[in-house]
């Protein structure tokens, strides 16, 4: 059956533990449907009996037989806690993908500055993967990634691979000193002073917890990066994903259908007091 709110059934094919609180789930639609996802889009995942919640697609591309999501477990979270208790073979519901996603075309030929905090790396990863797969289409690539502690760093193996590349500058930081950490310490904006960017060529892609945004905007502006060249992926409480439940609305825009990706110029217009 079909319907705007009716999920299709998918089976969990694989579960990978990323950190103590995040797991990556590979989902396969039962009816053999193939999915096409743009980086930055999201799906609505149902754990039947618990509810439905939005998660960014971790895999992007055309006609994919499976789809990855990385999910943080919140203690007491209806969906996330139940999902974390499920293993391969379990069934879940799937709707989407929804949302606009990142406009990769608009990034071509530019230097890209990725700024991610915590689980903000989740939607940025498929974009970075796509950019790396067409590396010669883009200018300089920089990733600044901050986590609270070393144990909260997602996608460790992939980050190591990226760091090993000559053509990708990757800098990690943790918020406060930790015995297991010899790298940079301080919130992600403390990586900015030593950073040199060509503001006319640069597009910044910024995803993290809401507290991070004003500081990163200030730091980017100080570097001369224009508001239209700062690209954010916003998160709002969502109940439908299709512009009907009202929860994600900001002024006259719906984060679920008009976003979740907006330039800072667009966000300024819909920001509330």
């Amino acid at each position: 059956m079909s319907g705007l709110y009716v999920p299709q059934i998918a089976a969990i094919e694989r579960v990978e533990e990323e950190t103590a609180t995040e797991k990556t789930f590979t989902l396969r639609p039962l009816n053999g449907d193939r999915l096409s996802c743009v980086p930055g889009q999201f799906i609505l995942l149902s754990v039947f009996g618990r509810g439905e919640a939005p998660f960014c697609v971790g895999t992007a591309g055309q006609d994919l037989p499976t789809l990855d999501i990385t999910v943080r477990r919140y203690p007491g979270g209806r969906v996330t806690e139940a999902l974390h208790s499920l293993g391969p073979g379990a069934y879940v519901g799937l709707r989407g993908p929804f949302g606009n996603g990142f406009k990769v075309e608009a990034l071509r030929g530019r230097d890209l500055l990725f700024v991610a905090g915590g689980i903000g790396l989740i939607p940025v990863r498929p974009l970075i993967r796509q950019v790396l797969s067409e590396r010669d289409q883009f200018g300089r690539l920089v990733l600044l990634f901050g986590a609270r502690q070393p144990s909260e760093i997602l996608y460790r193996r992939e980050l190591d691979e990226w760091q090993a590349r000559e053509d990708f500058e990757v800098q990690l930081t943790i918020d406060v000193p930790h015995p297991d950490w010899s790298g940079h310490v301080g919130v992600v904006t403390t990586l900015f002073p030593d950073l040199e960017v060509d503001p006319a060529r640069t597009k910044a892609i910024i995803v993290g917890p809401p507290v991070m945004y004003p500081f990163v905007v200030a730091a980017c502006r100080e570097k001369g990066i224009g508001d239209a060249d700062m690209i954010f992926s916003l998160e709002r409480y969502m109940k439908c994903g299709v512009g009907k439940c009202g929860h994600c609305a900001m002024k006259h825009k719906y984060v679920c259908t008009d976003g979740p990706v907006f330039t800072y110029e667009e966000i300024r217009e819909i920001e509330e007091h």
Binding site: Y5, P7, E52, R236, V242, C245, G246, H252, H273
Partner: protein, 349 residues
């Protein structure tokens, strides 16, 4: 849009008309008096249960198109689980819908049916519902301000049939093809509308406007809010009188927000249910991380008004987000209902 046809009906035949209309559908929803005397729209079995001597009902008949609580689908557990539709069938007639509520249905139609995503739950119910309006010209409720929102006292469109008492006759206007078919089935009860009926209708509108007690200068409020000229302190003042109960949005026929929840039934099946929600409630935007972008009542007061009154929203959603039904005037404990807030916005204080 001018009516497709007009008829005259002697009041003595109103019950016959109702019977005849009922025969065309499986179920009739009409205003009915419930002890101790409030009027609600509910399923009625015959004309004697219908109450037409009321200002407006506390709950809008819109609730029969967009249900306060509704089942979205059912999941039958198994390996793999199966998903089944939920839903009712049968043709339904909403009888004696006030013009303001009809205008609200117009906005809901646009919101749920147009654009990239069509709400099939609303669409199915809407498609099998006939609308018979009851104009308000002789019965203004002291709380209404439809004239300020251009929604009454007569509906100019959106109805299948519209009834109004003009002098000692009912005027019956036909507003759609389905309405014309209904009127045809009642042809023997109807008489041609004499010219004085149309003239009487126009006179009534003038008298109605003059008699309205509640006034709200909506265009001025819209201009001011849209120009972002409203001081933040104004929202604080509104918030200081708002209890955050959500009543205004729950009675508002234009409000569409909902949340969803899964109910596990005794037979083990799971039903996803949606229920009306309110942007005035604190938990409405609270995220799982604890972060809440609209944690303050002031922000929620602004959100509610912005969505209803600001140009960008009006443009997007097709019309003003208030139809002047006056229901929030009835429910708001703090007295910060729409006509009052519109006035505060207009004055900027």
């Amino acid at each position: 849009m001018p009516a497709l046809a007009q008829y005259s009906l002697p009041p003595t035949r109103l019950k016959d008309l109702f019977q005849r209309l009922s025969q065309a559908v499986d179920q009739v929803i009409a205003p009915t008096r419930v002890p101790p005397g409030d009027v609600f729209y509910d399923v009625v079995q015959g004309p004697d249960e219908v109450a037409l001597d009321f200002g407006n009902s506390l709950v809008s008949p819109v609730a029969w198109l967009y249900r306060p609580v509704e089942e979205m689908f059912r999941v039958l557990p198994g390996e793999p689980p199966r998903v089944e539709p939920c839903g009712e069938e049968g043709r339904r007639l909403l009888f004696a819908v006030r013009p303001c509520d009809l205008a609200a249905i117009g906005r809901l139609d646009q919101f749920f049916l147009e654009g990239d995503f069509r709400d099939d739950l609303y669409a199915a119910r809407r498609a099998r519902t006939l609308l018979v309006a009851l104009a308000c010209a002789t019965q203004a409720d002291p709380r209404c301000f439809c004239s300020c929102c251009e929604t009454g006292p007569y509906a100019e469109q959106g109805f299948d049939l519209q009834l109004s008492l003009v002098g000692d006759r009912y005027l019956l206007e036909v507003g759609s093809e389905s309405g014309a078919a209904l009127a045809e089935q009642c042809r023997d009860l109807l008489e041609p509308a004499a010219e004085d009926l149309a003239a009487g209708r126009a006179q009534q509108v003038q008298a109605f406007y003059a008699g309205l007690e509640q006034k709200a200068n909506m265009p001025a409020a819209v201009r001011r809010l849209s120009s972002e000229a409203v001081p933040v302190e104004l929202w604080d003042r509104i918030a200081s009188r708002c209890l955050g109960c959500g009543g205004c949005s729950f009675v508002c026929p234009v409000c569409t927000c909902f949340y969803t929840t899964d109910q596990v039934r005794e037979d083990g099946s799971i039903v996803r249910v949606r229920a009306w929600d309110s942007c005035r409630l604190e938990g409405y935007t609270r995220e799982a991380s604890g972060h809440n972008p609209r944690a303050h009542r002031r922000q929620r007061a602004e959100r509610f008004s912005y969505h209803k009154l600001a140009y960008p929203c009006i443009q997007r959603e097709g019309r003003l987000g208030c139809v002047g039904c006056g229901r929030c005037v009835t429910v708001c404990f703090g007295g910060v209902h729409m006509p009052r807030v519109a006035q505060m916005i207009r004055r900027g204080e």
